[in-house]
């Protein structure tokens, strides 16, 4: 356990020393300014528009920054042969992987905290709290999926591309299911049935990120503790899937 925590600690230190904090603060400041502009040009519901804009763009920026940070940090460590050095010591691969996961999850929590704090001025506090906790779960999943992808691909471009595709698909899979289930389409054709099965099968393997971090919780006050419980459960289960898959890959890797 101490080995896991030691790896997590230096992963967190690395995040603090690579100006991630300033990147997050800078992005949020720019988006906050953008939200002021949106509020200025809106004819009505200015506060709602401002909160909605900042929440949606802040969420995307947080996902992007966490994904890029995890990918670049891991690839740098591969290139510097840091991973090989660490694994040549008395350190099980599982401890290394879990340490990295805990460290990046802590980074994700920090980014979620900063993003939530930026929203605290623009929306009711209860909604902001729910939104922030959900964002934290979402960012932890993004960090976990990025870590898994970097371990698998060992390069930034394929790893980040895969993560962004995964993220977009996980956020839109419910909508895609709705579209393929349309009764306007001929449900008896083979191609339609095949595509429906494919989409339904894919949906089983993806977390339904469309239920996470909804702007409606901020602007319509529709969030609930039950929804958050469901999100936490999904994060735990999918986090375990990604950890299992990442460990499986790491153990099989010839370093």
């Amino acid at each position: 356990m101490s080995k896991v925590l030691a790896i997590a600690q230096y992963t967190l230190h690395e995040a603090l020393r690579t100006r991630l904090t300033w990147m997050v603060v800078g992005a949020l400041a720019a988006l906050a300014l953008g939200s002021v502009f949106v509020a200025q040009v809106a004819i009505t519901e200015t506060a709602r528009m401002q909160a909605g804009f900042l929440a949606a763009t802040g969420r995307m920026a947080a996902v992007f920054l966490v994904c890029l940070h995890v990918a670049s940090s891991m690839v740098r460590e591969f290139n510097d042969k840091g991973t090989e050095l660490l694994l040549s010591l008395d350190l099980p691969r599982a401890s290394y992987y879990l340490g990295k996961l805990v460290g990046f999850s802590a980074v994700a929590l920090g980014v979620a905290l900063a993003t939530t704090a930026a929203l605290a001025w623009f929306a009711p506090h209860q909604g902001v709290l729910l939104w922030g906790l959900s964002l934290a779960c979402e960012l932890v999943l993004v960090a976990a999926v990025t870590l898994f992808c970097v371990i698998t691909f060992a390069q930034i471009m394929p790893a980040v591309s895969f993560v962004l595709a995964f993220y977009l698909l996980a956020r839109s899979i419910a909508a895609i299911q709705l579209i393929t289930g349309s009764q306007l389409l001929n449900p008896h054709t083979l191609t339609h049935r095949l595509s429906t099965w494919l989409i339904d099968g894919l949906a089983l393997l993806l977390p339904d990120l469309a239920r996470f971090t909804q702007t409606a919780w901020l602007v319509n006050d529709t969030g609930s503790a039950m929804t958050l419980g469901m999100i936490a459960g999904q994060t735990l289960i999918y986090g375990a899937v990604l950890t299992g898959a990442g460990l499986f890959d790491l153990y099989r890797k010839n370093l």
Binding site: A94, L178, L204, T243
Partner: protein, 251 residues
């Protein structure tokens, strides 16, 4: 570089992966299938916001929005499609989509063949009015929907005046040489009162002959519509003959 053999992976890791995957599948299977809510159709974003969102590619955005709109209220589990939709919102969505992609015919097809089919005369009228307002903006491409609107006005709304007005508009605007000449003579079958099935058959036959419809999905969709009309006519003919038969039996 070859990977290490599978047996090198600790059993605990394999067990974690299998159990977590099983939990994920169970969780997703337990969650209800996503369903569309008729009341959830929001106001579409403003044209300016859509232009910005399209990132310079309005056609792609129009196509995404069309599928998004189409996904509302035609899902399994909702017994009366479109009935509960706010047609003001539907019309706004269709207008925005046409603004983004004026060449695309999908919104007008949805208006005349999908949203215009609800058993609510007011909503039918609203969709037909939408088609008739959009038609003069691009008669060369939009004439098939105006023709459908004229036939629907006559046979669904039983409003001969409106049907003739639409047929007249069609004659006035559909002057491009690429449009078949029979389109400009649609007032005739409306005057003659041929019945919906025959009028629709003539119109669809003309459409197919003119080569205006090439998309196999659209062809199948329109042919299915025709079959539905035939089935409806058969069942109404059967119900018309039944009382006579029973009356004869009583005598």
């Amino acid at each position: 570089m070859a990977e290490r053999r599978l047996s090198i992976v600790p059993t605990a890791v394999v067990a974690l992966l299998v159990l977590a995957l099983a939990a994920q599948l169970s969780l997703r299977l337990l969650q209800p299938r996503p369903s569309a809510s008729a009341r959830a159709l929001p106001t579409p974003p403003s044209p300016a916001a859509l232009r910005v969102t399209s990132l310079g590619d309005p056609i792609a955005l129009a196509q995404v929005l069309t599928l998004y709109l189409q996904a509302f209220d035609n899902q399994p589990g909702i017994s009366i499609p479109f009935k509960d939709l706010d047609y003001g919102q539907v019309e706004r969505w269709l207008t925005r989509i046409l603004d983004l992609d004026p060449i695309g015919q999908y919104p007008l097809m949805l208006a005349s063949q999908v949203y215009g089919q609800v058993p609510d005369p007011a909503k039918q009228r609203q969709m037909l009015a939408f088609v008739s307002r959009q038609f003069p903006l691009d008669p060369k491409r939009r004439w098939p929907w105006m023709g459908h609107a004229a036939i629907m006005a006559r046979h669904r709304l039983h409003d001969t005046g409106l049907a003739l007005q639409y047929a007249r508009t069609l004659r006035e605007y559909a002057t491009d040489p690429s449009i078949p000449s029979w389109v400009r003579q649609l007032e005739l079958p409306i005057y003659e009162d041929l019945g919906e099935l025959r009028a629709a058959k003539i119109f669809l036959g003309g459409l197919l002959d003119s080569g205006a419809i090439t998309d196999p999905h659209e062809l199948r969709f329109l042919i299915d519509r025709l079959k539905q009309l035939e089935d409806a006519e058969k069942s109404s003919a059967a119900s018309r003959t039944r009382p006579t038969g029973s009356a004869a039996g009583k005598q």
